[in-house]
Symmetry: C2
Subunit: 336 residues, 2 copies
DNA sequence: GTGAAAGCGCTAACAG
DNA sequence: CTGTTAGCGCTTTCAC
């Protein structure tokens, strides 16, 4: 009962293997009647084609890989959900690889995937100062379709799904200023991630448009070490030049910032106004509730996957430098 | 430059394919010298064995599947993180499938995986009244190693990774009562999930141990429809027999309960005390901060994966009814 | 419209 | 210790 294969199927039908193969592939060269017979027996035996055999032969399969920095994070979790919703419906299998912001790991995953296991990739890159040569290299070695989302390598010519980071950060910063901030700060990653750069640019331009001089110390670079971030923020919030507003561009930092405010008994929004980029569902429940700039994570995943599958199936041909831009959503709550 | 294969490698070395194969497999029947030569050239050409070919031949590969109800949920996200940490380190590839509490989907994933794509599965079942025959069936058809975690089919003889649901819920409920609750309620899933049943049992026994009579209306069955849950809770919290304590056994319900309290201006913990099973990182930030019973999600994933890989590699042989029990962690905060 | 045959890249007897 | 051989199960020319 361990699953029947094509050879047995063919034998039982009194047909050749190739005929059966074609029939199952719904080839036009097979008569309707034969197709019917084949399909019926196949169903009866619950025949499942062996993917290794067919992938080996066709040098291509219905498996894709998703490479992301993290999964314990609402944004990426939602994105994976979006991706899976389309791969599932198109009968693709989805591998998942987590880099944990570790460039070496990212490289090693990529290198591993040069073995041909997959037919395409969806990637959100990890922070790292080293550039994106490994992606380019991977592409040259494999010619596999790849779609990047959110954290994209700006310099490389690949299809991407991003959001209006610049505009939405600009808008959010404006709100901060309009509600009275004189000296807001921007929390960013240390590494020059394209996404971060765009957001910072939005922040900076908003300040300048309102006649607030931008200075470098308005950008607080957070690291991956949450302990360190905590201390940095604590120090900052206790200092004389305490900011009166924060735009936190990364989910983790939002939480830390909020926590530090509470600990120092700083009143949000009176002492400090706070807007964070996050998809946390508890933002509205915090007291005061947290204003958020949320990315359409699920849809980003969905778009990325849809695009990738199109490329794999060559329906859309040279989507090669498609850039899909979705809109972030600003939700103002009590923290501003 | 599209990757070299074993045949070319063998030719260039002046060896037979099988020798190369054995050398790469570090077989004892190959001389150290030959191995060295082979390995060196392989590295030089960045040779990567074609997984389809070898899987086809060996009828087994280094791919596993993870089937879970949801990923946008701290518990499952952490579990996946744990799983991936071990599959990654053992050079396995991890497929992910989300059922969204949809039994049909769960079945169809399982059926799909009968094609032999994978060498083992890690599963957390979705709610559903229909029993778990499909898992048994799958096992009979494939004989593949499977490990269940958290939401496990209690009646089936498979290895499982669970937590001390009964004891920890018992303990949490006791805290509720000790801090003054006379009439706590238990939020549960509608479907009779084993996990839920154990928790409910802990709740019930705790009540009885404190001389509080248990009645059926102390169990509130929540559905998958969050809108509906919201209304149910609202009604309950506005009713005359409003509970003075809540143990919410599912993350989503915790959030809803908290939200409704806020909306109705019920004072937590004065009017209602609240403990929720959740791995939310923002629990401590809520005001009042939320008491939680957290499952060691990451470790559960890790244990499950470790066990599965052992089974696949037949190191541990008949782990078949191993049950690993980890401890939940109760963190009391202001909501109690 | 159907079948015979070759072969995808690798592994595993079995010889030598 | 190395090589020869025979497939794993499927797809794809190419004949018929």
């Amino acid at each position: 009962m361990k699953g029947i294969n094509m050879i047995q199927l063919a034998k039982e039908l009194g047909l050749s293997v190739s005929t059966v193969s074609k029939a199952l592939g719904d080839s036009h060269e097979i008569s309707a009647n034969t197709k019917k017979r084949v399909l019926e027996l196949a169903k009866q035996y619950k025949y499942k084609p062996n993917p290794f055999a067919s992938n080996l032969r066709k040098k291509k399969g219905k498996q894709i890989a998703v490479i992301i920095p993290d999964i314990v994070n609402n944004f990426f979790a939602l994105a994976v959900d979006g991706i899976e919703s389309v791969t599932m419906s198109k009968h693709y299998d989805t591998f998942i690889y987590l880099t944990h912001e570790n460039l070496e790991r990212e490289k090693s995953v990529l290198e591993h995937l040069e073995n041909g296991l997959i037919s395409g990739l969806i990637i959100s890159v990890c922070t790292g100062k080293e550039g994106y040569g490994h992606f380019q290299q991977f592409y040259e070695n494999t010619k596999l379709p790849m779609v990047f989302f959110d954290r994209v390598p700006d310099l490389l010519q690949f299809p991407k799904v991003i959001t209006n980071n610049y505009e939405s950060t600009h808008e959010a910063t404006l709100k901060l200023i309009k509600s009275g901030c004189k000296r807001p700060v921007f929390f960013a990653t240390t590494e020059p991630l394209y996404t971060s750069i765009e957001r910072r640019r939005g922040f900076q331009d908003a300040l300048q448009s309102q006649g607030i001089a931008f200075s470098d110390d308005m950008v607080v670079n957070c690291s991956d070490d949450m302990e360190e971030n905590y201390n940095t923020l604590r120090k900052l919030f206790m200092s004389k030049k305490r900011p009166d507003g924060v735009f936190a561009s990364i989910e983790k930092y939002v939480i830390t910032a909020y926590q530090v405010c509470k600990e120092l008994k700083l009143n949000i929004p009176k002492d400090i106004k706070l807007i964070g980029m996050t998809n946390m569902r508890t933002a509205a429940l915090l007291n005061p509730s947290l204003s958020t700039l949320a990315q359409p994570a699920f849809d980003m995943g969905k778009e990325a996957a849809t695009l990738l599958l199109k490329m794999i199936e060559k329906k859309s041909y040279a989507a090669a430098n498609d850039i899909i831009v979705l809109e972030n959503e600003l939700t103002l709550r009590d923290s501003v």
